[in-house]
């Protein structure tokens, strides 16, 4: 193609930045859109580390074991070939980050150090203190800035994605964005777009996410016909600091480095935690799961903590909280490896975690589900799609639209293992850049009509104008609270069909009440209220995908736990949920078989150690993929 090859990337976190780098290396021109300056994206909050079977601790770890741990941890819902490719490439990606200057912790011999994380028995998590996401995103941000200094990247920070520009054949030809300050909308045109917008934490009141995790971008794509997959799979992290604005994460690495979870044996024991002797403490995870102890995967950890507090009433001070204790660990070691997260605890709780056990409780943390992507194979022969779309990995059901990072639904199945998220973000970036360029090389798209672009921009301008005219009585922040509280109550750890039906009805009510919002800010510039109001409606619509998906799925798998159907049901439910917007309010559901060609599903129980299962092969020589 004689014209420049452009990729427009929405989201400036790890996945977006990595996509930019690989696309730039293939000669593409890059435009990036982000709510906030790139290095402030939510990736910066990640704490514990990034997984890779580098095997420098003499444990005999291998990418094959990493692959099995991941698939098993995901309760067999992940399409396996992509997971395998990711795990085999992980050591190389960690080395790349090392070369970029990430200040990873080191061993005596100056090599990268690796710690233990949930759902595995190997030490395969590379880390930079307890703020690994911050160091990783800064490294990638720095690399992209180097290209920016050469004029190869255009950044649109402080801009919000509004919609995809689709031509009459429904190919993606660009996006419409709005400047958060001037409030002006414009179209960015290019034949490939990558959505790397992270998770949807703002659907929940008790979340570990950032203000930027609005759920708006994936919802708008879904509203325009992009499939949304496995929406019901929401990860609840067992250990977060209780809070009203958010629940600050206490990394799994705290447990990986020796932190222990316990409750007093006596209900409502009034003594401060540090005064309760060992004999009067119940280290319930260690007792119930001798092999994995405090490092059971997150879905199991959250269920156990919930049960202990909510059902058994054994929480600390009778509240919904348990102790996470590091007071028995040497202070020097804590400072070297966990200072970042312990200082967050101290700052926000006002208590010294070096000498007092921390009080924690589960919170919504990660979105396993997301926009649908293919993996380079014809995954759904029955679908009514253009024949070539399935050739490209990480492409959605819309030609030219790629999705990566937490925003996609792949890799983690029904439950994500700790330290695999940073990995899947980078891996998505590895894939999307070259795939997007390949797509552009292989496709010559028809000329884009000016009217298509003008109409797309006008649609957004009209939508904003309509918000400026809203003069009802509802306050959008109060509606947001209702949404988030109800979702937290009925669509997290424990799911019940009656409650889910009521919740869906509540979402309909909120959608009705949305029409009666009164705008409190008429400013024509930097109007945060106007953006908030539009994003709020996006959240209601996306919440329906989550809630109805959970309602339909009558089994328990990974993070989706329904006591009325407590077992995993592979015969009926070993499939990916796909939601398609009906154009009004509701999702329509279809399903797709999961690719389980490499590891045969087996019972998932962390009561005993999983050493790769009976089907695990000997570590094979890593084949070079993509």
């Amino acid at each position: 193609m004689a014209e420049e090859k452009k990729i427009i990337i929405v989201g400036g976190g790890l996945a977006g930045l990595m996509t930019a780098l690989t696309a730039l290396e293939k000669g593409a021109v890059v435009e990036m859109v982000s709510y906030v300056p790139m290095r402030r994206s939510h990736s910066v909050c990640a704490q514990g580390g990034i997984n890779g079977a580098v095997n420098t601790r003499g444990e005999g770890d291998s990418p094959e074991f990493h692959f099995d741990d991941t698939v098993y941890g995901g309760d067999f819902l992940a399409n396996q070939p992509m997971v395998r490719d990711m795990c085999y490439d992980a050591p190389r990606m960690i080395y790349m980050l090392d070369r970029m200057g990430v200040t990873f912790n080191r061993t005596f011999e100056g090599l990268l150090d690796f710690r233990r994380f949930g759902g595995t028995l190997f030490n395969r998590t590379a880390y930079a203190g307890a703020t690994t996401g911050q160091q990783l995103i800064y490294a990638l941000d720095e690399q992209v800035r180097r290209y920016e200094a050469e004029g190869k990247v255009r950044k649109f920070e402080h801009h919000a994605f509004q919609s995809l520009v689709l031509d009459r054949d429904k190919n993606c030809r660009g996006i419409v964005i709005t400047d958060q300050h001037t409030m002006k909308s414009e179209a960015l045109l290019g034949d490939t777009v990558a959505i790397c917008t992270g998770g949807i934490g703002l659907l929940y009141s008790k979340h570990t996410n950032s203000v930027a995790c609005t759920g708006s971008a994936p919802s708008r794509c879904y509203q325009q016909g992009v499939w949304y997959a496995n929406g019901e799979f929401i990860q609840i992290h067992p250990t977060a600091i209780p809070g009203t604005d958010k629940c600050r994460l206490v990394s799994e690495s705290v447990r990986g480095d020796g932190g222990r979870i316990w409750v007093p044996k006596k209900a409502n024991d009034p003594r401060p935690g540090r005064e309760i002797p060992e004999s009067e403490r119940s280290y319930f995870l260690e007792e119930k799961y001798p092999a994995y102890g405090n490092l059971v995967p997150r879905d199991i950890g959250s269920r156990e903590l919930f049960d202990m507090c909510v059902n058994q009433g054994m929480g600390v001070d009778g509240k919904w909280q348990v102790y996470l204790d590091v007071t028995h660990l040497p202070e020097e070691k804590l400072r070297a490896k966990l200072a970042g997260v312990l200082e967050i605890y101290e700052k926000f709780m006002g208590e010294d975690p070096y000498h007092n056990p921390m009080k924690v409780f589960p919170a919504m943390h990660y979105t396993m589900g997301g926009l649908y992507i293919g993996y380079g194979k014809d995954t759904n022969p029955k679908a009514d799609l253009p024949a070539d779309w399935a050739q490209y990995q990480h492409m959605s059901n819309i030609n030219g639209l790629f999705v990566g990072g937490e925003a996609d639904y792949q890799y983690h199945g029904a439950n994500r293992l700790g330290a695999n998220s940073l990995l899947s973000c980078l891996w998505a970036g590895r894939i999307i850049g070259p795939e997007a360029v390949k797509y552009m090389d292989n496709n010559t798209l028809p000329p884009l009509l000016d009217t298509t672009v003008r109409d797309a921009v006008k649609e957004q301008e009209d939508a904003f104008s309509a918000v400026y005219k809203m003069n009802g009585t509802e306050n959008p922040h109060l509606l947001q609270e209702e949404l988030a509280d109800e979702m937290w109550k009925d669509c997290t750890v424990v799911r019940d069909n009656d409650n889910l039906k009521k919740l869906d009805a509540k979402l309909d009510e909120l959608l009705d009440r949305w029409e009666h919002i009164g705008l409190t800010d008429q400013s024509a510039t930097t109007n945060q209220e106007v953006f908030f109001i539009r994003e709020l409606k996006d959240r209601f619509l996306l919440a329906k995908v989550v809630v109805q998906g959970a309602l339909n799925r009558n089994e328990s798998r990974g993070a989706h736990y329904k006591p009325a159907y407590p077992e995993r049901n592979d015969e009926q439910w070993l499939k990916t949920t796909i939601a398609t917007f009906d154009g009004d309010r509701n999702p329509q559901f279809s399903f797709e078989d999961v690719d389980i060609s490499l590891i045969k599903p087996r019972l998932r129980s962390y009561k005993t150690a999983s050493h790769g299962g009976k089907e695990a092969k000997e570590p094979a020589a890593a084949e070079s993929k993509s």
């Binding site: 290396e25 490294a139 180097r146 009203t244 700052k347 400013s523």
Partner: protein, 254 residues
């Protein structure tokens, strides 16, 4: 807290070229409240203490846990992160103002683009050959990692610039945060190969010579980065480099 409300005095401004003005609010107190949750309460009920309904206050935030650097503002006169500013720790009425050394966008939102431009100026990156596989990076000692890690936590919040007397409309001083970045990248084994470019930036206009040694920066850094140590180190390095450059022109090696 004896009082069950939090009294806030907020300096507002509707746009870049508009006049500033003060408004006062009283919000209901809940334990563990921080400044941003106070601002959230105002959004739910944007009414001043005089009973006037106004537009909610505009502010910038993201992570809410003091790792992203977005929510810098002056609280009772001192620039800091608002998310970790627990209300109990402040004398009331609590004054909120935008940081003074940056152009104001609206209310508490400021424009910090100069900081990101300066990251480009000092070439704050390790220049790698490519993202493709080249095996492990260079070995580095655990001792080095311990101090380099602390420097790498700079979140471009701008507090150090806000308190620096040398950062003002008459100068283009890059500020403590940028000098700190140079120290970090110049120490990295690969970064060191390109130290010259960064030192040239520090020797240029607005560079390290503009530091007046007020030492305000290190007192406000939310990540407790030893900024004055970094400035002192880089002061030394630039002097040695400048001398070598003078003596060994034209191609001085590091």
């Amino acid at each position: 807290m004896a009082d069950q409300t939090v009294h806030l005095k907020i300096k507002r401004q509707d746009g870049p070229d508009k006049p500033s003005y003060w408004q006062e609010f009283a919000v209901p107190y809940t334990p563990g409240m921080n400044i941003l949750t106070c601002l959230d309460e105002i959004s739910k009920n944007p009414t001043t203490i005089r009973g006037e309904t106004v537009a909610p206050v505009a502010w910038e935030s993201c992570c809410l846990e003091e790792v992203c650097g977005a929510c810098s503002m002056r609280i009772n006169g001192v620039p800091q992160q608002a998310c970790s500013a627990l209300v109990e720790k402040y004398k009331q009425p609590i004054t909120l103002e935008p940081m003074a050394k940056f152009p104001i966008v609206r209310d508490l939102i400021i424009d910090r683009q100069t900081m990101f431009d300066n990251l480009m100026r000092v070439r704050a990156w390790v220049p790698i050959d490519g993202t493709y596989d080249l095996g492990p990076g260079p070995r580095q000692t655990a001792a080095d990692q311990r101090w380099m890690y602390v420097l790498s936590r700079c979140m471009t919040c701008g507090c150090c610039l806000d308190v620096c007397p040398q950062v003002n409309p008459r100068s283009d001083f890059i500020g403590a945060a940028m000098i700190n970045q140079v120290r970090l990248f110049n120490h990295h084994p690969t970064g060191r190969m390109h130290a010259k470019e960064r030192l040239e930036a520090l020797l240029g206009s607005g560079g390290i010579a503009d530091c007046g040694n007020a030492q305000n920066c290190v007192q406000v850094c939310p990540k407790e980065i030893p900024l004055t140590q970094s400035i002192s180190e880089m002061g030394r390095e630039t002097v040695f480099y400048a001398v070598r450059r003078f003596l060994l022109k034209p191609d001085v090696e590091m």
